[in-house]
């Protein structure tokens, strides 16, 4: 498949003193830089690096908050317990399922919404823009509640509206089974987070040079051909950044599941499993180990994305 892209333009390098000759000016600039950025950097580390190290440490103990006297060092046995427990694999499977389904649907839907926003007539553009921001800004718990109440067997309208569809009646209990629960969870997540993807894609669309579109049109390319060979290849960076952010975000899903099912019927995600171990069962050791494993999964996904898809975040950030 041939793709049409513009050659990369020369980036202007930030001017800096040549290596080896650190002038007084650049030395003081360096000091000032760290003086200004240091506090923010330190706070970020303090609120994340310190807790995760603490979690790693606590995961090595058999420690229940209700029974602090029997706290004992057990090495990696917490990890062994988790990794041999079907609960963990079930939660991981559910999390991966939700991540794959929501991100895939959101990418396609988000692209459609971005196209609509790009083409929206200037008269309706403010309305469209304000609307797309609303799902993004509404809190996840409210979105989860709205969707839950809509599908609920007592308070909902979905059953009576869609009773003409086979398999749906007034007594359909959406939250009674794993797959129907997951369907509603995914719907709520997709509604809430597609706008974010579509805004990123819209920014990517704006970077596709109009000249290329015109040239392809002159050459007789159909709309479909232009989409696949001009538009998408030219906004690859934006697509990848949107994918990476949403994948990591989806993998951490917690709020929607907590509100809708509280993990019932096998809908527990990894975050929810860690929460239940620590906060509900006060098993600090086991909960910490699940947290550390979740952290490792997130790191793995991020590194995988950056290595496999060559997502260059610094380039996407405009940072030379």
């Amino acid at each position: 498949m041939t793709t049409t892209t513009l050659p990369p333009t020369e980036k202007t390098q930030p001017k800096s003193a040549p290596r080896g000759s650190i002038s007084d000016r650049s030395r003081s600039e360096r000091r000032l830089g760290w003086l200004l950025a240091g506090p923010a950097f330190f706070v970020m580390l303090a609120v994340t690096a310190y807790p995760i190290l603490q979690a790693v440490y606590e995961s090595l103990f058999s420690y229940r908050l209700t029974d602090p006297a029997n706290r004992s060092f057990t090495g990696l046995s917490n990890y062994l317990v988790i990794l041999t427990d079907p609960l963990w694999w079930q939660a991981l499977g559910i999390t991966l399922f939700i991540t794959l389904v929501t991100v895939a649907v959101e990418l396609v839907l988000g692209f459609g919404l971005a196209m609509v926003m790009a083409k929206a007539l200037s008269s309706i553009r403010p309305v469209v823009r304000a609307s797309i921001l609303i799902p993004y800004a509404v809190i996840t718990v409210v979105s989860a509640l709205a969707w839950q109440f809509a599908f609920d067997i007592n308070t909902g309208f979905v059953n009576s509206w869609f009773a003409w569809l086979p398999g749906i009646g007034t007594d359909t209990d959406w939250f009674g089974g794993t797959w129907t629960s997951l369907l509603v969870i995914c719907l709520a997540e997709i509604w809430k987070t597609t706008p974010f993807i579509s805004l990123l894609l819209l920014a990517g669309l704006a970077q596709v040079p109009e000249v290329l579109q015109e040239a392809a049109k002159v050459d007789g390319a159909t709309w479909w051909q232009r989409l696949w060979r001009v538009t998408i290849p030219n906004m690859k960076a934006a697509i990848m950044v949107a994918l990476l952010f949403r994948t990591l975000d989806a993998f951490r899903i917690f709020d929607t599941i907590f509100i809708m099912t509280a993990g019932a019927n096998g809908t527990e995600s990894v975050s929810f499993l860690a929460y239940r171990q620590t906060i509900a069962r006060l098993e600090i050791g086991l909960g910490s180990a699940v947290s550390v494993l979740l952290f490792l999964c997130v790191v793995l996904i991020a590194v995988g994305f950056i290595k496999i898809f060559k997502v260059d975040l610094s380039q996407a950030r405009g940072e030379g």
């Binding site: 923010a40 007539l121 509404v138 620590t278 996407a316 405009g318």
Partner: protein
């Protein structure tokens, strides 16, 4: 664009608006339903009632809701303020100075942004109990910084990079003092970026649920999203659905007002911070 094409995009726009607003319309409609009306199977109430709203403001549910609303506003505004101040200095350094470690700071911000919150909650839950920060405002403000600070640094440094800093020197050449040049030239140019960043940081803090339910236990510090989770779980009300819906509508009002007033800036802030090729 041909007339036909225009019509299609117009329909697309309408579909988009309906898609975005439908669940909100639904929860608003639900909040006006009387208990006997909740299971009417329809979208709209057969008779509008303000009972749910008086319940959360003056009635049976106000003890849970009003303190939570005050906590949410207080904690989110303080966390937003602190992270904007810290991010302002950091973003200035990143945008304007040349020093090693710039990339390190941006990469750290990214790493913190993708950090699974539950991995922070687990150890904090234990430590906060020991040092007395559990169920207090500072006990939530500190972890909220892990949510608001990274996005603030990213968004603000993207904004600051676009400021024509040469204008400061130009003003000084024209006879302004350093302070005048800063106040009259740089502050007006930087203010929109700082303001937009603050809105986005506030959205993120306002949205938090996991810290809220894990690190609080009473109305001393419990924020609204956590209280909403409890409405639906508690059985102290006959049917908490209507009351929960009303509370959900109230917490949605501030973000909708911000969106309506500052939509253009929010879009610029969100996309500036993430995609710039």
């Amino acid at each position: 664009m041909s007339r036909r094409e225009k019509t299609w995009w117009l329909i697309g726009g309408l579909v988009l608006v309906v898609y975005c607003l439908f669940p909100i319309a639904w929860i608003v409609s639900l909040s006006f339903k009387a208990p006997s009306d909740l299971s009417n199977g329809g979208f709209l109430p057969t008779q509008f009632t303000g009972q749910n709203y008086s319940d959360i403001f003056t009635g049976s549910a106000s003890g849970l809701f009003l303190p939570a609303l005050r906590n949410s506003f207080g904690i989110c505004l303080i966390a937003t303020f602190i992270s904007c101040i810290l991010a302002m200095f950091a973003a200035y350094a990143i945008a304007r100075l040349d020093f090693p470690g710039k990339r390190l700071i941006l990469t750290t911000a990214l790493a913190v942004a993708i950090f699974p919150i539950i991995s922070i909650v687990t150890p904090l839950f234990n430590v906060w109990r020991q040092i007395g920060l559990y169920d207090t405002w500072p006990g939530l403000i500190l972890p909220y910084l892990s949510l608001t600070l990274p996005i603030s640094i990213w968004t603000m440094s993207a904004f600051f990079r676009e400021i024509p800093w040469e204008m400061e020197q130009a003003a000084q050449v024209d006879g302004a003092t350093t302070w005048q040049a800063f106040r009259k030239v740089i502050v007006p140019l930087a203010a929109p970026g700082v303001f937009t960043t603050a809105i986005i940081a506030f959205f993120i803090a306002w949205n938090d649920f996991l810290y809220g339910i894990s690190l609080t236990s009473t109305e001393a510090a419990r924020p609204v999203p956590a209280a909403l989770g409890l409405f639906s779980g508690a059985s102290q009300f006959e049917d908490p659905t209507g009351v929960t819906a009303a509370a959900a509508v109230i917490v949605t009002i501030p973000v909708i007002v911000l969106v309506l007033l500052f939509q253009r800036r929010i879009v610029a802030g969100l996309t500036n911070g993430a995609v710039k090729g």
